[in-house]
């Protein structure tokens, strides 16, 4: 039914484009009789625009992008859906060398603990403010991004006001290492391999990681227009099966070296193979000659890493409300929740021997250890999934969660 279907997919050169690239390079797409054409893009705005006008059938998207589009918050807002996630984690927070040294001098242990790094950062900010120095400039990749929200979550939980104590700006991922080197920014929150590239070029030091701020947390999704999903359901299903099997392959520890070699090629990430391998195995060189092994740094397949949990969509939505990007209403919450389509994921993967979660939503941050959960087949284990400050997000109690957040205070 899908014979000969051609799908053009846009992506940005980031570690979590791995599943898409593996699907094309390792024959998983061909096995499903689809021909995948990957196009590397230079901005998330281009991804959005080219999906909207139909140049791309599907794209590597920041998880909040489809939600923002459906809420009418972005230009060219067309109805988008996220029928699959492209892994969990994969981001880090990197400080410029001078800022890192300042933080180290104020007692930061340098073991990636977000609370420890946040304490040191708060002290640095207080000292700079007292000395009449400029606010620190911190870069994220997009206003509607996991990076923006996890950075702000971490800062706020550490007593730093993201709107008053620092300036948060947007810089494209591949330009982060240079921006740190030139002093244009003091810190960034970006997906790998760009943190590791900054460390290897001597322009930055990794101070904490997404996996320690919120373990096994959502990051990128596969985004498609509702129109295309409705018109080409068979092709979409075949694509999801190809991506699921690609994700399984990407997660195999025996395949890490081959995956690193593929991703490092000029047409994909164009980054040194050894750096990519470190990101894939979670062995991060946080500063020269210092490697920290991070558990669950970037999860490709285990723990239902590609399942589009609607509780993830709702958490992102709660952060859009928190930072004044949109107002909270029951209607908006439903739009956000329904941007994620676990029903399509289940429909597509039914023919595969894959354990599929029984629920569409889960309480986030409740698992302190790995736990087997109800699934269509045995063998699905989730968690741990804790937020570093111990808070819990219960999607059934979203009103209370939103009311209890301290965030945007207006201008």
């Amino acid at each position: 039914m899908t014979d000969g279907a051609e799908i053009t997919i846009g992506f940005l050169p980031l570690l979590d484009s791995a599943i898409l690239i593996a699907a094309a390079e390792k024959g998983f797409a061909r096995d499903e009789h689809i021909d995948v054409n990957l196009v590397r893009e230079t901005s998330w705005a281009n991804i959005r625009d080219r999906v909207a006008v139909g140049h791309f059938e599907a794209a590597h998207m920041l998880a909040p992008m489809p939600i923002a589009s459906n809420l009418g918050l972005s230009p060219l807002s067309v109805p988008l859906i996220a029928p699959m996630a492209l892994g969990l984690g994969g981001n880090a927070v990197t400080a410029s060398v001078p800022l890192y040294e300042d933080m180290s001098g104020r007692g930061m242990a340098g073991d990636l603990d977000p609370a420890d790094a946040g304490r040191a950062l708060k002290t640095v900010i207080a000292a700079r403010s007292e000395a009449g120095m400029e606010r620190l400039r911190i870069a994220v990749v997009h206003p509607f991004s996991g990076h923006n929200y996890e950075l702000r979550y971490w800062l706020t939980a550490c007593g730093v006001d993201p709107e008053r104590d620092v300036d948060i700006i947007v810089v494209p991922p591949p330009l982060m290492p240079d921006a740190l080197a030139s002093g244009n920014i003091d810190m960034c929150c970006v997906g790998e391999p760009w943190n590791s590239v900054a460390v290897s070029r001597g322009s930055g030091r990794i101070i904490t990681v997404k996996a320690r701020i919120w373990r096994n947390s959502p990051e990128k999704v596969l985004g498609v227009t509702s129109r295309w999903a409705n018109a080409q359901g068979d092709v979409l299903d075949a694509l999801l099966r190809a991506l699921y099997r690609a994700a399984e392959w990407c997660a195999g520890s025996d395949n890490a070296e081959e995956l690193a070699a593929i991703l490092s090629r000029p047409q994909w990430l164009n980054v040194d193979e050894k750096l990519v391998l470190g990101c894939l195995t979670g062995a991060l060189a946080t500063r020269p000659d210092h490697i920290v092994q991070v558990d669950d740094f970037f999860v490709r397949h285990a723990k239902a890493a590609t399942f589009p949990w609607q509780s993830h969509a709702l958490w992102f939505y709660s952060q859009m409300v928190r930072w004044g990007q949109c107002g909270h209403s029951a209607k908006n919450a439903v739009i956000a929740r329904d941007s994620y389509r676990p029903d399509i994921y289940r429909r597509a993967l039914k023919p595969l021997p894959a354990p599929l979660p029984g629920a569409n939503l889960k309480v986030e941050g409740a698992l302190s250890r790995p736990q087997p959960v109800g699934a269509s087949k045995a063998g699905l284990v989730l968690g741990p999934d804790g937020f570093f400050d111990g808070r819990i997000f219960d999607p059934d109690a979203i009103d209370a969660y939103i009311a209890g957040q301290n965030g945007h205070r207006g201008n």
Partner: protein, 200 residues
């Protein structure tokens, strides 16, 4: 309120890393009667420029990786004091498609009338397309010249090593290319490379 309002010049900012294309756009805008056009090639410090210039329309090429940065500034009332909506929002689908196809995007101040802005985008689209066509033709001409050079060298090698006339050398190249179903320039390239290896 006045019954008839004089339309003031629109303030237009063009951001394009390609200086030649930017000047093509600028010229098009001036020809269309827009006198208040600023062109920048580097987005460094664009926030300050927008703050002082207060543009009504911003035209930017799609290849610019800083589009996300630019759009985020429109959301931050701290650095840009006027709401700027995206032009594409209020234009028709075919214009949007043509713009993305041509590789150009534009943003306008909220509330600016469609009739005033559409000609600007249409002009930018046609100039972007013309520029791409010109760049493509230049590239073709360049590779044509390269091909001719390499074929001349291959002919020279054959004339020297096989004692052939220029015409026969070319015939041999052409015959080999036909037999192998390849271009003459490719055969010439292989021959020049092989000769280079043998010399070493």
């Amino acid at each position: 309120m006045y019954a008839v309002m004089t339309l003031r010049d629109l303030i237009i900012l063009v951001i394009d890393e390609n200086a030649i294309r930017a000047s093509v756009i600028e010229e098009g805008l001036r020809q269309a009667g827009h006198g208040n056009v600023t062109v920048i090639h580097d987005v460094q410090g664009v926030g300050r420029i927008i703050e002082t210039l207060r543009p009504d329309v911003i035209v930017i090429d799609l290849e610019n990786p800083n589009r996300d940065m630019l759009e985020s500034m429109f959301q931050l009332s701290r650095s840009v004091n006027r709401p700027i909506a995206m032009f594409v929002d209020r234009s028709d689908q075919s214009t949007i498609e043509a713009a993305v196809e041509a590789g150009v995007s534009a943003y306008i101040v909220d509330g600016l009338r469609q009739e005033r802005v559409k000609p600007i985008l249409d002009m930018a689209i046609s100039r972007f397309n013309a520029f791409s066509k010109m760049a493509r033709e230049l590239e073709e001409a360049r590779s044509e010249l390269e091909n001719r050079k390499i074929i001349d060298r291959a002919k020279g090698i054959l004339m020297k090593s096989k004692g052939l006339s220029e015409e026969d050398a070319y015939r041999l190249l052409r015959k080999t290319a036909m037999n192998q179903n390849r271009k003459i320039a490719e055969i010439a390239q292989s021959l020049v490379m092989a000769a280079g290896l043998l010399e070493e």
